[in-house]
Amino acid sequence: MKLIRFFLVGILFGIVMTKSEAISWFRIQEMFRFQSFHMYGIIGVACLLGIGIHVMIKRTTAKDLFGNVIELSPKPKTYKASLLGGTTFGLGWALTGACPGPLYVLLGHGYLSIGVVILSALVGAICYGALRKVLPH
């Protein structure tokens, strides 16, 4: 079944996030204090390789496992939303030391208080949905 593959990739992701220590609140503090290269190295390498992967996919019009051409759709050009939403998220990222991926991984580590953060993030998403029409995008 197709979904099992995503389950396995998810397990890999959880291990990668832990071993890279990208889920560490302390690593995020190092990053925002510019006191270690660690997080910049991780994101930098991932992006450089990612650029190569994306160029290759476009050049070769690569197909996915199911034979469909992989389409790399552009992000919507909602710059105000990117900046304002991004800043809002940044405040939460520094406070909790976790972005959405690591939140789930940390739950697996047994930090139950992270459950409160996840539930609150869902409430935040609902509030965004409700206020979307009045927010600048």
Binding site: G41, G50, I53, N68, S82
Partner: protein, 193 residues
């Protein structure tokens, strides 16, 4: 071999592994972006009956929900059978800065621990109103902000920048504006309370 995997990874190996995860998702016809799971979960729970934003076929994100459940299990495995032989090592300068805020650094933690500070995430904190408020505030900012920005670290900083998307670069600049304000301006205030 197990020992090698269990030890903390070099940043270059980590970056490579993240690129592999992104490539695997592309190969399976999907795009790397974890914060969409918030939208999918709210939609699955029925938020679409009241709010347009959640009125979409959340089953199109079923793969992401399965991925997320997998990452919880991955986190469990990485902290149990693959537990690191040492706590997280962080820069001495960061240790000093955090000590000034009253936060213990991982040096004092047990092996394989020290991913989050007890001062914020301990269970006893769940019984103090100020502690719970901090967790609720942080989570709210993450959920609200990532949906407003249309992505988080995976969707914008990794996927978006890899695809040379200008909106993603703007979002990452926003991440840093928020992160720097919280760390340098708000932390001294929050942790003096």
């Amino acid at each position: 071999m197990l020992e090698l995997i269990s030890s903390p990874w070099h940043w270059a190996v980590s970056g490579l592994a993240i690129a592999v995860v992104m490539m695997l998702l592309l190969y399976h016809g999907e795009r790397f972006g974890v914060s969409s799971s918030f939208k999918a979960i709210c939609s699955m729970a029925g938020a679409g009956s009241r709010i347009d934003y959640f009125r979409y076929d959340w089953k199109s994100h079923a793969w992401l929900l399965v991925f997320v459940v997998g990452s919880v299990l991955g986190g469990y495995l990485a902290s149990s059978v693959l537990a690191s032989p040492e706590p997280v090592q962080i820069a001495t300068s960061t240790q000093h800065d955090l000590a000034a805020l009253g936060i213990d650094t991982p040096q004092s933690y047990a092996e394989g621990a020290g991913f989050v500070p007890a001062e914020i995430f301990s269970m006893t904190n769940l019984t103090s109103p100020a502690g719970v408020l901090l967790l609720i505030l942080g989570g709210f900012l993450i959920g609200f902000g990532t949906r407003w920005a249309g992505g988080c670290t995976s969707g914008h900083a990794i996927s978006g920048l890899s695809n040379l998307q200008l909106p993603s670069l703007v979002a990452v600049i926003g991440f840093f504006v928020g992160g720097l304000v919280m760390t340098h301006l708000l932390f001294p205030f929050i942790f003096s309370l």
